[in-house]
């Protein structure tokens, strides 16, 4: 029998994008606030969001960041990187240039003490293979984010999985994002649309469309996703919401994925970190759109003990909830779910370091 997993709690500063973007807080203030509210011990950030001048990182910045980590007792889990292959407007970066582009980002992660670098779906299996020596050199793990509308069974993800199995390196893996496995359209988005005067019939049809797509199953081709996208655009136009059609189609067909929580199991041996994507916590303390409890239960039963960053993305439309409060409530749900599954979520920094070192050595 597999020993129960003990995933490690944490947060990504991406959850606080709204406040940071509005210049209400510095990164240092966000990190201190996250620590003071017990939203760690894991801490993740997006390099191109939090660090001015990224991917260049000065020695002074590294020293300051490490002092902040020591002061707060947090445990760096993941630095999110970006592969900007379209950096130049006249041409794509060549394969070699893309590796050169990623190099300082990977090096920055290592210098700042992040063991995992999140990369995105624009990278192919060949790209990942080309980046492997870089990951080995800096001893970090490259985790390709599995984000809606992709999902574990999508051909692009399966092709990566196949390559990982061929290469057999623990420096390559995935970062599952729970937004690929929703069970319902977030209520807070519908509330936002209602506030903005979108008519109830359109809202009903948007939700209906999402459920039709859900019955069809997570998209296996771009053609299928494109068909859904055009359908939602059409609904928006029919109901006089033309200007918001693209946004509605991006949300309904792009953000709220249709895979089943069980689908994550196939990727677990390669899951180097996770994005605990969520949108809202209701009055009963549950997440009506992302099946947080079900996913945590599966991870625990499968013996997975990696780090999970709570990633609140409701800020795109929800400007009424406090991001720190909503993350705290989501983490309470994760802790309860782990306990109900006969285990616990790691919240102690020392235990987190031990558990993550062990997770790294075994996967």
């Amino acid at each position: 029998m597999t020993a129960s997993g003990t995933p490690v709690q944490g947060v990504t500063l991406y959850s606080f994008t709204r406040d940071f973007h509005a210049r209400n807080h510095s990164v240092e203030e966000l990190v201190r606030e996250a620590a003071a509210r017990g939203l760690g011990p894991g801490i993740e950030m997006v390099g191109f969001q939090s660090i001015k001048g990224f991917p260049a990182v000065t020695d002074e910045y590294v020293d300051r960041f490490q002092a902040l980590v020591a002061e707060t007792g947090l445990v760096p889990t993941c630095l999110s990187a970006n592969a900007d292959a379209g950096l130049r407007r006249d041409r794509m970066l060549t394969d070699d240039e893309l590796v050169d582009y990623m190099a300082p980002q990977v090096e920055a992660a290592a210098r700042l003490g992040f063991p995992v670098v999140r990369v995105q779906i624009s990278l192919t299996p060949d790209d990942m293979q080309r980046l492997l020596p870089l990951a080995e050199k800096h001893d970090v793990r490259l985790g390709l984010e599995v984000h809606s509308h992709q999902h574990p069974k999508h051909p692009k993800i399966q092709a990566l999985l196949e390559r990982y199995e061929q290469l057999g390196s623990h420096h390559l893996g995935f970062v599952p994002d729970w937004g690929a496995t929703l069970r319902e359209v977030p209520q807070s988005l519908l509330a936002r649309y209602r506030r903005d005067g979108v008519d109830d019939e359109l809202l009903r049809k948007l939700v209906e469309a999402w459920h039709e797509h859900d019955a069809e199953g997570a998209p296996m081709t771009e053609e299928q996703h494109g068909r859904w996208f055009r359908q939602v655009m059409g609904l928006a136009h029919q109901h006089g919401a033309g200007d918001r059609g693209i946004e509605m189609a991006v949300n309904i067909t792009g953000l709220f994925g249709h895979a089943k929580p069980e689908d994550w199991l196939e990727l677990l041996p390669w899951a180097v970190h996770m994005h605990g994507k969520f949108y809202e916590i209701d009055a009963s303390g549950d997440e009506p759109s992302v099946p947080v409890s079900r996913i945590v239960g599966l991870l625990v039963a499968a013996g997975w003990s990696g780090s999970i960053s709570s990633e609140w993305e409701g800020f795109h439309w929800n400007d009424w909830d406090d991001p720190f409060d909503v993350v705290a409530r989501m983490q309470a749900l994760m802790r309860t779910s782990a306990e109900e599954a006969g285990s616990h979520l790691v919240t102690d920094p020392d235990e987190a370091r031990r558990v993550l070192a062990d997770h790294r050595s075994r996967s």
Binding site: T17, H21, N82, A85, G86, R89, M92
Partner: protein, 132 residues
């Protein structure tokens, strides 16, 4: 008003001796290279300002709108503003209200949907702003 559709905020407008300076928020959740800016259209009191006359200031440097697309090693940090300068012979004074509309188009260099075609965010904001 969300992260990805807000470019004008209440303190965006400043009066200068030779025109107006409009400070834009980046309509995305991360910093992007200045080369991601594919177009800027400005209307003052409903009249479009000729693009050739506009200048954009960032990181202590000044560019024409067309030159922005070539700046692939200048980063527009998330908390910084791209300042679009509109030359005017008789600019408003501090405290005056001005009707400002800006459309900013940004290409996402990591979200390619076909060869050399990128997901592009067109953010349009129309506000009456007080010159600071």
């Amino acid at each position: 008003m969300a992260t990805d559709d807000t470019i004008l905020i209440s303190d965006s407008l400043a009066a200068r001796e030779d025109g107006l300076a409009i400070g834009l928020k980046i309509p995305w959740y991360r910093s992007l290279w200045v080369s991601s800016v594919s177009d800027v259209v400005v209307r003052i009191d409903g009249a479009e300002v000729p693009k050739e006359s506009l200048r954009a200031e960032i990181n202590g440097k000044t560019f024409t709108i067309d030159e922005l697309g070539d700046q692939w090693d200048e980063l527009w940090f998330l908390q910084d503003r791209l300042v679009v300068v509109v030359p005017q012979d008789s600019p408003p004074s501090k405290g005056d209200e001005v009707d400002v509309e800006v459309t900013l188009s940004m290409r996402m260099p990591y979200m390619q949907i076909a060869p050399m075609v990128y997901v592009t965010n067109h953010a349009t904001n129309h506000r009456t702003l007080v010159a600071g």
